[in-house]
Symmetry: C2
Subunit: 236 residues, 2 copies
DNA sequence: CGGCAGTTTGATGTTACTCAATTTAAGTGG
DNA sequence: CCACTTAAATTGAGTAACATCAAACTGCCG
């Protein structure tokens, strides 16, 4: 969801990965590239941890990650998944302590900007402000849709919502090869994202497979019936 | 949640209502008051409607309102409740079509600023930007907490979460008279906010009453055991 | 004194969870 | 290439939480 034109000299730029989310960035609405630093984080390692101080805003350049909240009993709720080009969260631009945790789902590469640099720079560059505004809007809209999905919809619809949304986002930033998408999620991740148990996710995914809607295996999601998936998962 | 220092010459300013949420606003971080307009909206009437164009950012000066999403089958999910001093949503600052609907819960009074005015003004006033940033952060944090609550917690915890959060917010902007709070919500509103049915809300609220935790009647919420309510509803 | 909206209560149904066992898939080292 | 190991997915049986339906009750207002 979050798209922001800060990731200017991402190693993937020009290879169609970060580039895909940069559309809409006006000229001059980019931070000086020398301000960013790169970091590689291995799958399963934390990116930021709730209540820890964060000096920087993270942009995901490569791989998948997710934001989540941990409950005292150890259960976690995944708030959203992050794909290449996504800002971890725009709110990191305004807050010194992180209000959420984030973890690398695959090996990832992140680009980091100091919050202070962004704030200074955005004071005399309204293009950045506009980009931040669009991103904030997208983040909030996504959060609202998720709230409605968790509050009012059954398991089948929740899972279809997540899968439909992910395929749309993956397709938007890569060359679409028929209906096959790279898919590093375990069923436990789906469960934590849509508020179900992994066992129940398994059952629902099985019925989707039997009905010829989707097929997940070997880290690849195949959408056999995109229309049906959208119909079940449509948020409105 | 959303607190923003735009509501400068609200009719309630000085009477401790809007004033309560203005703390933290630095000098000069206020929009010229002649840019705002007032409007009264009666209980049950729409404030904004999803997909309608909105030229203005709304700030609630008096009464209660709520943001919601309507599902095609007529069911609705309430996203949050708005109390005096709250911005309807900061994202209205960046988007021309509303992504949500909002409705007055009681008779309300709103203050309206043209989006264009705010954008222009914020370009040469970094105090406004900081205030917007804080508000955006608060909105997102609230949305994240709600997601975790809907995804991972049982009926009793969801309802306690909502009531605890509301009492904190009401207390923050009014003189606290013992543990009695004005409470214009019907049980159906609670149900739509936390993803339950009104019938089940009734049962849970009854057990709270029997256990001496709260008491709702005559538009007043009495918190008899604030510690217990917080304990059940604590988001983490 | 109706009438109406909101709440409460009971009986029953459905959805999703829990626990536990089994199967499949993915590595790993010989 | 094949045993061995381990994580993930699947399946079944039993249960808990919440929804649904319908009826009775309460308070409020004209």
């Amino acid at each position: 969801m979050p798209e922001l034109s800060l990731c200017v000299s991402c190693p993937n730029r020009g290879r169609g990965i970060c580039g895909a989310v940069l559309e809409g960035a006006s000229e001059g609405a980019q931070l000086p590239s020398q301000w960013q630093r790169y970091q590689v984080i291995r799958a399963g390692r934390p990116v930021v941890t709730r209540n820890d101080p964060v000096e920087e805003v993270f942009i995901l350049c490569e791989g998948w990650a997710f934001r989540y909240l941990q409950l005292p009993d150890g259960r976690r709720q995944i708030l959203n998944f992050l794909l290449p080009g996504d800002v971890l969260s725009c709110t990191s631009m305004f807050q010194e302590l992180s209000s959420f945790s984030a973890m690398a789902l695959t090996d990832i590469q992140v680009s980091r900007f100091r919050r202070a640099d962004i704030q200074t720079f955005s004071n005399f560059n309204s293009g950045i402000l506009a980009a931040v505004g669009r991103t904030v809007f997208a983040e909030q809209k996504h959060a609202d849709e998720l709230t409605a999905t968790l509050g009012k919809r059954v398991a089948e619809e929740r899972i279809a919502y997540l899968l439909a949304q992910l395929t749309r986002r993956i397709a938007a930033r890569s060359v679409i090869r028929e209906q096959r998408y790279p898919f590093p999620l375990r069923q436990q991740h789906i469960a934590d994202a849509v508020g179900l148990t992994a066992v129940h996710v398994s059952r629902v995914v099985s019925t989707f497979r039997e009905r010829g809607v989707i097929e997940i295996s070997g880290g690849v999601l195949q959408v056999l019936d995109p229309v049906e998936l959208e119909r079940i998962g449509a948020p409105h």
